[in-house]
């Protein structure tokens, strides 16, 4: 049964929501590598939603929906910002971007999760990780 959590645009609130999600992951005996991947992807997704999506607007919320099963985790994060085009994000691993302190979140979610898909507006990301 998926769990839905709605939080304000606040990093501490996101951290608390993430802790509850990770407790579900721990309860399903995910591997160390899969647990790291899920933690990283949720951290990046929530951070992007609060900072870049809602721009810390206290009137806007972030919705975290997760369905953690023994074989795979499905996580969806939705913000109330204007959305973005993930294909237009510069490659943070290129030489010219290597020294930029930001811009790695989307790439890391894609590198660590098995599936990452955005809705057409770009304000919702759905991620899947298999427990391998």
């Amino acid at each position: 049964m998926p769990i839905t959590v709605v939080i304000p645009s606040d990093l501490a609130a996101a951290h608390e929501a993430e802790r509850a999600l990770l407790a579900e992951v721990a309860g399903c005996n995910y591997s160390e590598a899969a647990t790291f991947a899920i933690k990283l992807a949720v951290e990046e997704g929530m951070n992007n939603a609060i900072k870049h999506g809602n721009r810390f607007d206290a009137r806007k919320t972030v919705e975290l929906v997760y369905d953690i099963r023994k074989d795979r985790a499905v996580i969806t994060i939705t913000d109330h910002g204007g959305g973005f085009n993930p294909a237009a994000v510069p490659d943070p691993t290129s030489d010219e971007n290597l020294e930029k302190p930001t811009g790695r979140g989307v790439m890391l979610m894609r590198a660590y999760m098995d599936k990452v898909a955005y809705n057409s507006k770009g304000n919702q990301v759905r991620m899947v990780k298999r427990n391998t």
Partner: protein
């Protein structure tokens, strides 16, 4: 020693270098504190900072940003930031982001201090 959320930062002196031991996790709520601490350490002429990552279990992109920021702030002071003994998980993160091209990574703190 300072702590923020799930991170403990312990700074010690080894000769002219600062050794910064990170214990725990650098997530979105810890990264800004770490960034400020590292800035204070690198903004001196010739500053050498070795980050001991042996007991760092997790780092997100904001944490990586704190390391990159320290690297950039050290440069005008002719300083350097080295990384030592990352866990396999953190090493994979550094490799995935190609930050191994930006930072020298040593197997332990002693090797990093010799390599400076």
């Amino acid at each position: 020693m300072q702590s923020s959320g799930e991170l403990v930062v312990d700074v010690s002196r080894r000769g002219q270098a600062s050794v910064v031991r990170l214990v725990g996790a650098v997530g979105m709520t810890e990264a800004s504190m770490l960034s400020r601490q590292l800035e204070e350490l690198v903004e001196h002429p010739g500053a050498v900072v070795v980050l001991d990552l042996e007991h760092l279990d997790f780092m997100c992109s904001s944490g990586l940003g704190a390391l990159i920021n320290a690297h950039a702030k050290a440069r005008p002071f002719q300083g350097q930031v080295f990384l030592a003994s990352p866990s396999p998980m953190v090493m994979r993160l550094l490799e995935t982001t190609r930050l191994t091209n930006l930072f020298e990574v040593f197997p332990n703190v002693d090797e990093a201090l010799k390599g400076k």
